[in-house]
Amino acid sequence: MIGMIELQRVTKDYPMGEVVYRALRGVDLRIDEHELVAITGASGSGKSTLMHVIGALHRPTSGRALFDGEDLGRLSREELAEIRNKKIGFIFQQFFLLPRATALQNVELPMAYAGIRPQERRERAQTCLERVGLGEFGHHCPTQLSGGQSQRVAIARALANSPRLILGDEPTGNLDSHTSEEIVDLFTSLHREGRTVIIVSHEPEIARRAEREIVLRDGWVEEDRRGTS
């Protein structure tokens, strides 16, 4: 059986002016369905790049990145966008909500791109907001929300198309410790509901609560350990 995500000797280069910066130097990795994984490492270790490859935002420079057995490197930009839309839910450190849209409209957006009818969209968006405890905040704009609330809206948006994979890129990086804990609780509950959750973070608390921690260093997987929790 193949894993949900399989990386085989994946490298990723970025041109930096004259020179080429190699962010990933041959990563081999397999993540199965229903796992809760933390990717950690110092800044510059390549963990963000790894997440972009897993999240179908970037194609690898060489090697193979398989998502459900599909080689992401061979897909067009349009097809990658559809995978991001239907199979992956992103949560970013800076929340990345559309400032002019209400919370409800933000949550509806991935469904709009999926071609779901407005009526159904609205109902599902409301359900998603209720799931993250913001049922009353549908008509608030991001500027009227606190950091924790914004991140909850972002999580609701990530859940919109019921993706099987949830990807968090330093999701608690902009939050205080109390709010961070609530967000991490939310992530673990999403995992308990049966989703695959991958969180990139340098916070030891998150790594401790994950059942598996992948430590990156200089573009390599330095350590891949499974916890007991």
């Binding site: 930009r77 349009e78 839309n85 970013f92 990345f96 709009a112 948006r157």
Partner: protein, 425 residues
């Protein structure tokens, strides 16, 4: 994402920058309004001019003679009253009315003004529908050689505003000679007919005109063909007769109607080349309309070109603003891509926005253009012709401009890398 969805998103994006949007819209408004107004004004003016030319009757043939072009006294003598009966003898010609036009100075109560004088025969009014003596009477065969005058409606209104002038005296200086005329009638208002305004002339008997101006040649004849079908044939017959009467004494005559247009040009240029010109021109109404339409088409092309250039400038304005918008919203584009917006969704989004700007400009421009055309028709006194064609043109053009100038910014947006776009500050 559905088109309606895109439309809503675009509208909210445009509303977020009201001033910027309005200015881009304005660029298109000016261009479209210019094109629409030009088309409507030209259409109105053309309809008006055609009506005037046609008002002379489609059977009418205008014969202008240019005595200066004749080099001998003998040929001048040939242009006499006898020519009238010669022309009338042509099989396709029903009637020929000789006229002699000139200018004079009217003197009344110490005030002087210039008048356009028309020496005509009693048949003259029969050439025009609705042209009759409203007060008093028109010239009669018995008026030959007498010093009587009939005023055009405009002349009567301008200079005899306090009462009916019939019976009053009017002194006019013609060829340096002062002569007192008795006013015997005032004509109905008839306005422009062909190149002449019937209301602005003073009509006197042809013979009186000849005596006073000291020559017997007529400056023009108005002929009526037997019916509309034989107009061209009648014109050919007239030319043959004129050639017979005039060429024997004029060695370098060019033949026929074909030279009429160049002749008019030459006379207006000062008559320098007159010796090499035909001494007459024969114009039928169809040709007059064609000549007029040709010059109108040239005008339309030039003015339309100016409008098209301003539309182009408006389009560049749209492209500029869309490029700014794409740069400003780089992060938004990144977000949309990250959550599943396909490059083609992003492209359509920005294209819709550009088309919205240009269509909005197109509709407003259409309205303003029609308003301008309506005002123009009020001042110019021609009908306000509203047609569907400029409306379609305006919409089509603005759509085309929106797509053309919106495409590059939209493609740029669609080509953005989602990760880099998200990092953009």
């Amino acid at each position: 994402m559905g088109l309606l969805e895109m439309l809503r998103t675009s509208l909210s994006a445009l509303r977020a920058h009201k001033l910027r949007t309005s200015l881009s819209v304005l660029g298109i408004v000016i261009g479209v309004a210019a094109v629409v107004a030009i088309i409507a004004i030209v259409n109105g003016a053309t309809a008006n001019m055609k009506e005037q030319i046609a008002g002379l009757g489609m059977r009418t043939i205008t014969i202008n003679t240019f005595p200066q072009a004749l080099q001998s006294a003998a040929s001048i003598q040939a242009l006499t009253e006898e020519l009238t009966s010669d022309l009338e003898a042509a099989p396709s010609v029903a009637q020929v009315v000789p006229t002699a036009s000139g200018r004079g100075t009217a003197i009344l109560d110490g005030e002087t003004w210039n008048v356009s004088l028309m020496g005509v025969t009693p048949d003259y009014t029969a050439l025009f529908d609705g042209f009759y003596a409203e007060s008093g009477r028109f010239l009669h065969a018995l008026d030959e050689d007498r010093k009587v005058a009939v005023l055009g409606a405009g002349v009567a209104e301008d200079y005899f505003s306090n009462g009916d002038p019939v019976g009053e005296k009017l002194t006019m200086e013609i060829s340096g000679q002062k002569t007192a005329f008795r006013i015997i009638g005032v004509m109905s208002e008839r306005g422009r007919v062909g190149y002449q305004n019937l209301d602005d002339s003073v009509y006197i008997p042809l013979t009186t005109m000849q005596i006073l101006s000291g020559s017997r040649q007529f400056s023009s004849y108005i002929a009526q063909a037997a019916n509309e079908e034989v107009v061209e044939q009648a014109a050919a017959e007239i030319e043959t007769i004129l050639d017979q009467k005039l060429t024997s004494t004029t060695p370098t005559i060019s033949s026929g109607r074909g030279s009429a247009a160049s002749l008019v040009v030459a006379t207006s240029a000062g008559g320098t080349f007159i010796g090499r010109m035909s001494p007459y021109s024969v114009t039928i109404q169809k040709e007059a309309i064609e000549t007029y339409e040709e010059s109108v088409n040239t005008m339309t092309l030039i003015l339309g070109g100016v409008g098209a250039i301003s539309l182009l400038v408006g389009g560049i304005g749209i492209m500029n603003i869309m490029l700014v918008s794409v740069t400003e919203r780089t992060r938004e584009i990144g977000i949309r891509m990250a959550i599943g917006g396909r490059p083609r969704d992003i492209r359509t989004q920005f294209l819709v926005e550009a088309v919205l700007i240009s269509l909005l400009g197109g509709f407003l421009g259409l309205g303003i253009g029609w308003l301008c055309a309506w005002l123009g028709s009020l001042f110019g006194g021609w009908p306000f012709v509203i047609s569907i064609y400029p409306a379609l043109l305006a919409c089509g053009f603005s759509l085309l401009i929106g797509v053309t100038f919106g495409l590059y910014p939209a493609l740029r947006a669609a080509r953005l890398d989602p990760v880099e776009a998200l990092r953009y500050e």
